[in-house]
């Protein structure tokens, strides 16, 4: 007996347009379908990817076969499948943190770093956190790639904001590792603002300006990171920092579990930038990048 798998909506990001829209299918993966429309891009994703500001999370659909997508009368129509879009199941991409718990945050960050070093994909950017991982890069091309990621990141962390344009676009897939590192840094700077009260908006805007590219997917992702809007997996991780060690480990594994380097790359950028800004914060401000 074949089980008829019913397609269901799990959550809808707050930036997803709910008016009638015809999308162009940009690209499809096993767990993600990226859809273009005049105002930007939304992603229809599986639960393993989870919620995001511009994500529609659904279960029960084979993304690789997606040819046509539209929203009409509160229904998401994927090929011939119509799915009701409940306005109630919004994903909240904002993070609220208790400013008095900076120390807790920093100890959570330490656990996160350890788990990342132990479990992340060998060819992810985590070599930036642990030199021993450099030996995973073997070919001349891989070594040059590694060096460029290293140089770009180090320069940014040393205060040279313009190096963002050096780091962006580096990496194999169509969400380049360099862009993910930058996203992680943006999120760290935003968390710094939440925990210290210093406004960092102008820095985040400047980084986003430098990081923009023709890659709409990456661009959208950077845009939300700059605004301080979190994807579900990362939001869960930040919240876990304020719970126990086990929670941080679980949240990190969830971040890595989708089998991509993306989670590890964002995490690396987040850790490096957090260490940097909180180190400097004792003398008043972030802000090596003012």
């Amino acid at each position: 007996m074949v089980i008829a798998t019913q397609v269901q909506i799990v959550s809808v990001g707050s930036s997803v347009p709910l008016c009638d829209t015809v999308f162009t299918v940009h690209s499809t993966f096993e767990r993600v379908a990226n859809l273009l429309y005049f105002g930007g891009i939304i992603s229809v994703v599986t639960e393993d990817i989870g919620g995001g500001p511009n994500n529609i999370v659904i279960k029960g659909f084979n993304f690789l076969n997606l040819k046509e997508a539209q929203i009409i009368n509160d229904e998401l129509i994927l090929n011939d499948t119509k799915i009701f879009l409940p306005r109630a199941s919004k994903y909240d991409s904002t993070v609220k943190l208790d400013a008095s718990k900076k120390t807790t945050f920093l100890s959570g960050l330490q656990i996160f770093e350890r788990v990342l070093i132990k479990h992340a994909h060998p060819l992810s950017s985590v070599f930036l956190l642990d030199d021993r991982r450099k030996s995973f890069f073997i070919t001349p091309f891989e070594k040059n790639l590694r060096n460029q990621l290293d140089v770009g990141t180090t320069e940014i962390l040393n205060g040279k904001l313009s190096s963002v344009s050096k780091l962006k676009g580096i990496g194999l897939g169509f969400t380049p590792q360099g862009d993910d590192l930058i996203s992680g840094m943006l999120l760290a700077i935003y968390v710094y603002q939440l925990l210290t009260g210093y406004s960092t908006a102008h820095i985040r805007e400047e980084i986003y300006r430098l990081a923009r590219s023709k890659n709409v997917i990456s661009d959208t992702f950077l845009y939300f990171s700059a605004k301080g809007e979190f994807f579900e997996r990362f939001k869960n991780l930040i919240h876990a920092f304020f719970q126990d060690k086990e929670s941080v480990i679980n949240a990190t594994m969830q971040l890595l579990a989708i089998g991509e380097t993306s989670g590890a790359d964002i995490g690396t950028g987040f850790i490096l930038a957090s260490k940097e800004v909180f180190k400097k914060s004792t003398n008043g401000g972030v802000l090596i990048w003012q």
Binding site: M1, K118, A120, P122, M253, L256, A257, G259, E260
Partner: protein, 59 residues
């Protein structure tokens, strides 16, 4: 407290992880079954884990 023998009173419904032929033969005899498209993730992939452990020492 649940008991193994409770299973014998229920309709058998199966989740199959692995060989697809096991799912097909259950369908043949009318059992509800769903196949999982399983693959090792980066975090659980043994080769990756082994490579990492070798490199980083087992801590």
């Amino acid at each position: 407290m649940r008991k193994i023998s409770d299973l014998f009173k229920q309709e058998l419904q199966v989740i199959n992880i692995g060989l697809v032929s096991f799912k097909e033969s259950l369908e043949d005899v009318g059992v509800k079954v769903i196949q999982v498209d399983w693959r090792p993730s980066a975090a659980t992939d043994d080769e990756t884990r082994d490579a990492l452990q070798k490199l980083l020492g087992s801590k």
